[in-house]
C-alpha cells in the first residue's frame, strides 16, 4: 500500500528537495521517535537518534528502492540501526550492558500519544500483552523466534503461535485503517495541492 503521499515524498527525495524531510517528519516523525525511544530508552538519546536518522535518510535518499521496501520499512531500518549504534557507543562509553526490558512494551503514557494515533493506541489495547511482547521482540528488539524463546523463557512453539495471532490481530487493525486510506490520501491531496 503505497499512498499518494509516500510517492510524492519519494519523488521529492529523489529530486533532493528538502521539502521531503519536512513531509517525512510530519508524517513519520513521531513514529520514528517512538522507534528510537524503544531502543535507547532515553529521551535525549532518542532525539539525537532521530536527528542522525534524518540526516542519514537525506544522505541515502538516492539508495531508496521502492521495489524492495515500503518507504516506512526503509525509514524504520535506518532509524532502528542508528538507535542500536547509538546505544552501542553509549554503552561502550559507560561500559553498561544493553538492558532489554520487555515489560516496557505497553508502558506508554497516554498523553505522549499523538491524537492522530489515538485510534491506533486504542487498537493496541485490543492486542493482548502476551502477543505484544512477542511482536515487540520481533519488530523492535530484532530477536529471532529462538532468541525470543530463550529471552522470554517461553517455549518456541508458543512464541510461534503467539506471533501468528499477534500478526493476525495487527492485520485486522491496519486492515481497518486501510479502508480509511483512500480518504486520507484524498484529504492530503487537497491539503498539498497549493504547494505543488
Amino acid at each position: 500500500m503505497s499512498t499518494l503521499l509516500e510517492k510524492h515524498i519519494v519523488e521529492l527525495l529523489q529530486e533532493r528537495n528538502d521539502k521531503a524531510i519536512s513531509l517525512l517528519y510530519e508524517h513519520y516523525g513521531d513514529t520514528l521517535y517512538g522507534v528510537a525511544y524503544k531502543v535507547v530508552r532515553d529521551e535525549e538519546l532518542a532525539q539525537d537518534v532521530l536527528q542522525e536518522s534524518f540526516v542519514k535518510i537525506w544522505k541515502k535518499s538516492d539508495s531508496y528502492d521502492a521495489s524492495k521496501a515500503k518507504l516506512f520499512t526503509w525509514l524504520f531500518r535506518i532509524t532502528r540501526n542508528t538507535a542500536i549504534d547509538k546505544l552501542r557507543s553509549v554503552n561502550t562509553k559507560s561500559d553498561k550492558e544493553i538492558q532489554i526490558d520487555v515489560s516496557d512494551v505497553y508502558n506508554l503514557g497516554v498523553n505522549s500519544i499523538r491524537p492522530e494515533f489515538m485510534d491506533v493506541k486504542e487498537n493496541l489495547d485490543k492486542i493482548e500483552t502476551k502477543y505484544q511482547i512477542v511482536l515487540d521482540a520481533l519488530f523492535f528488539q530484532g530477536m529471532t523466534q529462538q532468541e525470543a524463546s530463550d529471552e522470554l523463557d517461553i517455549p518456541l512453539g508458543t512464541i510461534k503461535s503467539r506471533l501468528k495471532i499477534g500478526l493476525r490481530e495487527l492485520k485486522k487493525i491496519y486492515g481497518n485503517t486501510m479502508l480509511l486510506l483512500p480518504l486520507i490520501s484524498e484529504l492530503w491531496k487537497d491539503v498539498m495541492s497549493p504547494l505543488f
Binding site: V55, R114, L138, L170
Partner: protein, 252 residues
C-alpha cells in the same frame, strides 16, 4: 516447492530482512525468494504493513523544536555540501592552474637550459675562432713587419690581365702570405683556385671567393723554391690544377 518456501519462512530470515539485521549474503537470498515466490512476497508485504502499524502504535510525540533542529541540520548539510563543492571546484581549478604553470615553467626552463648550452658552445667556438684569427693576425703582423720579408707583386697573364695580388715571403721565419687584390669576373660556372707546388708536390690552397677574400692575407705553405699558381677551375674547385688555365704564378 511449497516445502522449500515453508522452510524458508520458518527461518526468521524474512523478519530479519524486514528490520534490517541481516548479512549482505542473506539479503541476496531473501531478495531472491521475494522475487521468485509470490507467497514469500505476500508474507513480506504483510510483515511490512504489520511493522508500520505496530510502530505507529508506539509513536511518541517528539519534543517541540526537534523538527526545526533537524531541518536546520539538513540545511547546514546541504550548504556544507555546496560549500564543499565550491571549494572542490576552486581547489581543482587551482591545482589545474598550478599543474599548467608548473609544466609551462618546466618547459621554459628546459628551453633555457638548451639555449644556454647552445650559447655556451657558440661562445667556445667563437673564442677558439678568435684565438686562431688572433694567432693568424699576429703571424701576419710578424711577416709584414719583418725587414727580411720580401714583397712580390703578382700580375695575371693574358687570361686575367686585371688580376693583382701581393705575396709576402719571409725565408727566415719560413712564412708566406698572399693578398689577392683584384680578380677579373668569371662566368658563374668557374672560379679561381690557388695551388702551391712544394717540394715537387701540388697542394690545393682552396678556392678564392672574389668579394670576401679581397683584404685577406692567405697563408701559403712555405718551402724553398716553391711556386704558387692561380688557376681558373670549374665552380667548386678541382682536385688537380688545370695547367692551361694558369692565370698567375708566384715563385719564391
Amino acid at each position: 516447492m511449497k516445502e522449500k518456501i515453508r522452510i524458508f519462512l520458518d527461518t526468521d530470515l524474512l523478519e530479519k530482512y524486514l528490520i534490517g539485521t541481516i548479512s549482505e549474503e542473506e539479503t541476496q537470498q531473501v531478495e531472491r525468494y521475494i522475487a521468485m515466490y509470490p507467497k514469500v512476497r505476500e508474507t513480506y508485504d504483510e510483515l511490512q504493513a504489520n511493522l508500520e502499524t505496530f510502530a505507529k502504535m508506539h509513536a511518541i510525540k517528539a519534543p517541540e523544536g526537534l523538527k526545526a533542529r533537524i531541518l536546520e541540520r539538513i540545511k547546514a548539510q546541504n550548504a556544507g555540501r555546496r560549500r564543499f563543492r565550491r571549494y572542490a571546484i576552486a581547489a581543482s581549478i587551482a591545482a589545474f592552474v598550478f599543474a599548467g604553470s608548473s609544466y609551462f615553467f618546466w618547459d621554459q626552463s628546459q628551453g633555457l637550459i638548451e639555449e644556454n648550452t647552445i650559447v655556451n658552445n657558440k661562445i667556445r667556438d667563437l673564442e677558439e675562432d678568435m684565438r686562431e684569427q688572433l694567432e693568424d693576425v699576429r703571424n701576419q703582423f710578424i711577416v709584414l713587419n719583418n725587414p727580411q720579408t720580401k714583397k712580390y707583386v703578382v700580375k695575371g697573364n693574358k687570361k686575367a690581365e686585371e688580376l693583382k695580388a701581393v705575396a709576402y715571403i719571409n725565408p727566415v721565419k719560413k712564412l708566406s702570405y698572399i693578398n689577392v687584390q683584384n680578380l677579373p669576373n668569371l662566368p658563374e660556372n668557374q672560379c679561381y683556385q690557388m695551388w702551391a707546388e712544394v717540394n715537387g708536390e701540388m697542394v690545393n690552397l682552396g678556392v678564392i671567393k672574389n668579394v670576401d677574400d679581397k683584404d685577406k692575407l692567405r697563408p701559403l705553405p712555405y718551402a724553398e723554391n716553391a711556386v704558387s699558381y692561380i688557376t681558373i677551375e670549374p665552380m667548386g674547385g678541382n682536385d688537380t690544377p688545370t695547367v692551361q688555365n694558369i692565370v698567375a704564378n708566384i715563385s719564391y
